[in-house]
Every structure is written in C-alpha cells, then in structure tokens.
C-alpha cells in the first residue's frame, strides 16, 4: 500500500462549529490549515438547524443555525483555510498520520498538529420493535425534513424532552407533520422552558414519567406502546414515525485510535478523550474541541474550537505566549459565562473534574 503523503501544519477534522472556529483562529495567526470533513457541505449539524439560536451575539445568537454556518465558512475562506469536503478521515495512526478518503482517492496527511472536532453521535434506546422502519434518531428526522424536504411521517411520536426533542418536535410541526406527543422517561422536562412553551402552544402533549415498552408494525412502524411509570397505565400511540432524542455521546473514535485516554463523564454524554483547559488531549500535537470533547451546545463548541486553535498556533510558534494567554483568558471567560445557570453548572463541574484530574 503506497499512498500519496502530504505535509501540513494544522489539520482540523470536522467542519462543524468547533472545527471552523479552530481553523479561523489558527489561520489568522498565520498557520496553514486544512479542514477535512466527510460531508458535502461544511457547517456540521448547523446547516440542518432552521431555528434561531440562543447564546450571545458573539456566537450568532438570534441567527438561524445555517446562517451561523455560512458566516463561519466565509470567515474561514477569508482567512485562507483549505476546507476539503467529501473527505472522510478514516484513521489517525499513533505515529500521527491521518488517512483520508477524499474525492480523488485515499491519501495520508502528516500534520504538525491535529484538532479533532468530530462532533457527537445520537444515543438510542432499545426495546422490542426498535428496529422497525419509521423509527429513527431525532437528528436523522431533522436531516430528512430540513435538508431533504421529506417528512419522517404524518403522525410522529418523539422520545425525549430535552432540547433536541423539543426543537425537532417544533421543526416537524413547521414542516407540516402532526406530533402526537413527547414521551420522556424521567419525571421532568430537561430542555429549555422556551422550547417547551413553543411546542405546548401548538397543542403537543408532553408525557413525563413514561417509558416506551414496544413498537408495533408489520413492514414499518404503526404504533408505539408506552407505560406510565407512576400510574401504571399502558397506552398506545398510533404513529408512523418515532424519533429518538435520548441524548448524544461524543464521537471521538479518532482520538481513541491515536491513543488518547478515554474517560467517562455522564454529564458530557459518556466517553470522551481526556483534555486540559487548553483543549490539549494529552499527546503532543493532539487537540480536541466541541461535542467530541464532551457534548454541550454550539456556542460552547465554537469557543472550545477557538481555544484549541489558539493553543495549536502557540505551540507551533505562530502566536506569542503573551498574546495566546490573553486570548485564551478571554475565551475562558466566555466559556464560564456559557456554563452558568441551572443548565450549565453540571457541565462546568464535569469539565473541571478533567482539568483538575
């Protein structure tokens, strides 16, 4: 196997909010940057988000997800970042080389530093019938509706009342589907109240303390059987689609393959590569950022991306120590702000447990 080999300064894997921000920071300080992404479009999951984002103005709040993506891509291009789409990074060898499956074939990249910003994957729950067609991840439904313009069904049941479940419910309503309910195994709604308010005012019933028992159907989903954990009542929802929004876990296989230590933090979605406050993953020239480093939200991913880009630029000698320290301090402050409030505290504590360990 004799594959073409290419050298570069910084390779960023993943062109989502974290990866694009990492690329911009590094490129602006003069580091040549290549961004590799398996999709045909940059922006990661932002481009299927048709809702306006929370966060501060700095993170594009008030804009819709796909607009934020467009802005970040434009910033990258202005900074001279080489964004390569349709390019899957299929391996990150312990020697530090990346194997890329790109439009022109498979090749190797040997970078001085790598930022792993590969995002998250959807968790699932298993129950009898969960393999029936019509049952899919909430993110899958979002892709189907908001990118391809096709509904996952006419009557949709949602599993999970976190932000993703609530947002996807709203987006399905917007596209013309009926949402017959949102079932949630825990006893409360974990998503933001404003997201909850939006689906409630559309008449979507919320069923906290309800667990899915089974899914029924011959060639595809026809009904979902759900048990009320308190009352003991069992009910059946007629539905042709069930979307599971039961959380995400960091997708950091490349970090694991490279040899990074994987640690478990429930509050951040499960297993993730250990990293410090500068987003260094414990191995020379390896950085992580965004959901791959612990599932949070897009504005946090952007700041972590910036952090990793600054750190990489500094360690490659393109940014002076003092300047890097000052910029990092600013990012740290913004991250601390984003992790405040009733929703952020647990994530903040989990991140701190990494930095301090």
């Amino acid at each position: 196997m004799n594959l073409p080999l290419e050298h570069t300064a910084l390779a960023v894997v993943g062109a989502g909010p974290a990866g694009l921000c990492a690329a911009v920071e590094a490129a602006r300080s003069g580091v040549p940057v290549v961004v590799l992404d398996e999709n045909e479009r940059a922006g990661g999951q932002l481009f299927k988000q048709v809702h306006r984002f929370f966060g501060s103005r700095r993170h594009g709040a008030g804009k819709r997800g796909y607009e934020i993506a467009d802005d970040l891509i434009a910033e990258c291009l202005r900074a001279g970042v080489d964004i390569r789409l349709g390019s899957s990074v299929i391996a990150f060898f312990p020697e530090g080389e990346l194997m890329v499956d790109g439009p022109g074939g498979v090749y190797l990249v040997r970078p001085q530093a790598v930022v792993i910003a590969t995002g998250a994957s959807e968790k699932t729950i298993a129950f009898p019938g969960w393999t029936l067609p019509g049952i899919m991840g909430a993110g899958a439904a979002q892709t189907l509706v908001n990118v391809h313009g096709v509904l996952p069904g006419k009557r949709v049941l949602i599993a999970g009342a976190g932000n993703v479940g609530l947002i996807v419910s709203y987006q399905l309503l917007q596209a013309g589907a009926d949402v017959v309910g949102i079932v949630e195994a825990s006893h409360g709604v974990s998503g933001y109240e404003v997201h909850l308010d939006r689906v409630r005012r559309e008449g979507v019933p919320i069923y906290p303390g309800h667990r899915i028992i089974s899914a029924r159907g011959r060639d595809g989903l026809e009904a979902v059987v759900v048990k009320d954990l308190r009352g003991g009542r069992t009910v059946l929802f007629e539905a042709d689609s069930l979307c599971m929004a039961v959380g995400m876990s960091p997708m950091a296989e490349l970090a694991a393959m490279r040899g990074c230590r994987m640690v478990f933090r429930e509050e951040l979605g499960g297993f993730l590569p250990w990293h410090d406050e500068k987003m260094r993953a414990g191995l020379q020239g390896v950085y992580v950022a965004g959901d791959a480093a612990g599932v949070e939200e897009a504005s946090v991913a952007m700041e972590e991306g910036r952090m990793s880009g600054i750190s990489a630029a500094e360690e490659m000698g393109s940014m002076k120590k003092r300047q890097a320290a000052a910029r990092r301090a600013a990012v740290s402050r913004r991250l601390a702000d984003l992790r405040r409030g009733p929703y952020g505290e647990a994530r903040m504590a989990a991140k701190c447990s990494l930095y301090c360990a």
């Binding site: 306006r52 819709r64 899957s88 299929i90 194997m99 013309g176 504005s299 702000d337 409030g341």
Partner: protein, 255 residues
C-alpha cells in the same frame, strides 16, 4: 413587578400604541433582544445567562425584539384602536401561509384555540427567510392569553389505553449482527466484562456500524451485570477505517 416589566404598566401603555411583552422566565445564555433594542428598553447585562430587565416605558413598539427572539417569547400588544379590541403582533413560522384578511385561530399557551382573530397585516421577519410577523385583532379579554396564531390546528386524539399486562420481551441490542439483550447478558454471565473481550468472542461491534449504535447500551448492560464501573467496561478498540471504504480505494484506486 417582575424583571420582564410591570404588566399593569404595559397594559396602560398599550392604549397609546404597540408595546412589547416579554415572556422570558428562565436563566439561559441568550441576549439578542438587548442588541436589537435601539431604545435600551431591554438590558441583559454582562452575564449572558441573566434574565432580561425590561422597561416598557422606553419601548416604542418597533417589534425588532419580536423578530429576533430565538424562543419566540416576545410579542406586541396594541390597545389603541377605538373599538376596544386588542391588536397583537406575533412571530409565525408554520407551513400554512397567512395573509392580511385571513381568519386565524388564536391559541393559548397550551395550544387550545381561544377562537378566531382577523389578520390585519403580515410582515417578513427579515430579508433572509420566509418567517412572518403576524398582526391580528382579537377581543380584549384574550389580549394576554394568545400565544400563537394558526391556520391549521392539529387534531391528534388521545392515545388508546391498552389492557392486559405487558410481558417483558427480549429485543436486539446490536442491530447489525442481530445480537439480543438476553445474549449480551449471557456473555456478561460468562465472565466477559469488557467490550474489548466481548468483541474478541462474539461479533458484537463488528458489524456495519462498528459499535457506534450499540456501544453505549452495551456499556450500561455490562456495567450493571458485572458490577463494574463504565471506564472498567471500557469501549471497543477503534480500528481503521472508522468509515466504510472500499478496499480497492486503499490500493490507490479511485472509484
């Protein structure tokens, strides 16, 4: 008086024309309303998670905050019309088109229709997309209750009660290699208490998805069955390629 402004003052001021009502009650990181308010009527301040402080006395009813609020939690109330009704301006992002002159359902916070209102005006929320600000006339007694307007109201019905006890059935954990939960428990009982050991023995995690969809569930299953913490159970060893690639391409073919 709450941070979102005194409702009596808003009610009074609305007699003179449109004034914003903020329905923002939770500390989440969000501040675009502050930025778009040219009058300084809405202030979030340094901490992005703080609730906005709103002074209705400074509001001129321009509606920019209504158009920018990601939570769709701001609307305008105008009681200046002499016939005693209330004129509301609400954000609208549903599929069915609404235009001036339409009769629309006015919904309360639970999605229950209060009745019909008449659309007097629609405006694009911004230049970039198709969302609308809809201005609708409703009876005064609904003025503080209406949270949305719709052409179509869902009729989904109640779920049906199922009688008889539900026996716990077995089901698949690994979709690709079709390995059931009971099989996974048998493996745990045999002493395989890490995912790496399990994969050497069975085909779990070797299928199409490379364990991406079953891993978290297997970790939970094994950590419960083997009384081991999750880091002890560990994750599958990651092998290249992490995405399916045709073997020929690794040999340098492009096809």
């Amino acid at each position: 008086m709450g941070e979102s402004g005194d409702i009596d003052e808003i009610w009074r001021r609305a007699e003179g024309g449109a004034v914003a009502i903020l329905d923002c009650r939770e500390e989440i990181p969000c501040d675009p309303c502050e930025a778009v308010c040219a009058r300084g009527a809405i202030v979030v301040g340094k901490n992005v998670c703080d609730l906005p402080r709103y002074d209705p006395g400074l509001c001129n009813g321009c509606g920019r905050c209504v158009a920018i609020c990601p939570g769709m939690a701001i609307y305008l109330l105008d009681r200046s019309s002499r016939d005693g009704g209330a004129r509301l301006t609400l954000p609208y992002e549903m599929k069915e088109e609404i235009k001036a002159g339409d009769e629309v359902w006015a919904l309360d916070e639970d999605g229950s229709p209060l009745g019909k209102g008449k659309v007097v005006k629609t405006a694009k929320m911004n230049k970039r997309d198709h969302s609308l600000l809809v201005t609708v006339d409703v009876p005064e007694e609904w003025a503080l209750k209406v949270r949305g307007v719709r052409i179509r109201v869902m009729s989904i019905g109640e779920p049906l009660e199922v009688r008889g006890c539900q026996r716990e059935e077995d089901h698949l954990l690994c979709r690709c290699e079709e390995i059931s939960r009971s099989q996974a428990r048998e493996y745990a009982a045999m002493g395989f208490n890490s995912l790496r050991a399990l994969r050497r023995f069975s085909r779990v995690g070797l299928g199409y998805c490379q364990g991406r969809f079953c891993q978290a569930m297997l970790v939970d299953e094994f950590s419960t069955a083997a009384f081991r913490d999750r880091e002890g159970v560990g994750v599958f060893k990651v092998r290249p390629p992490v995405r399916p690639v045709k073997l020929g391409r690794l040999g340098g073919e492009n096809g």
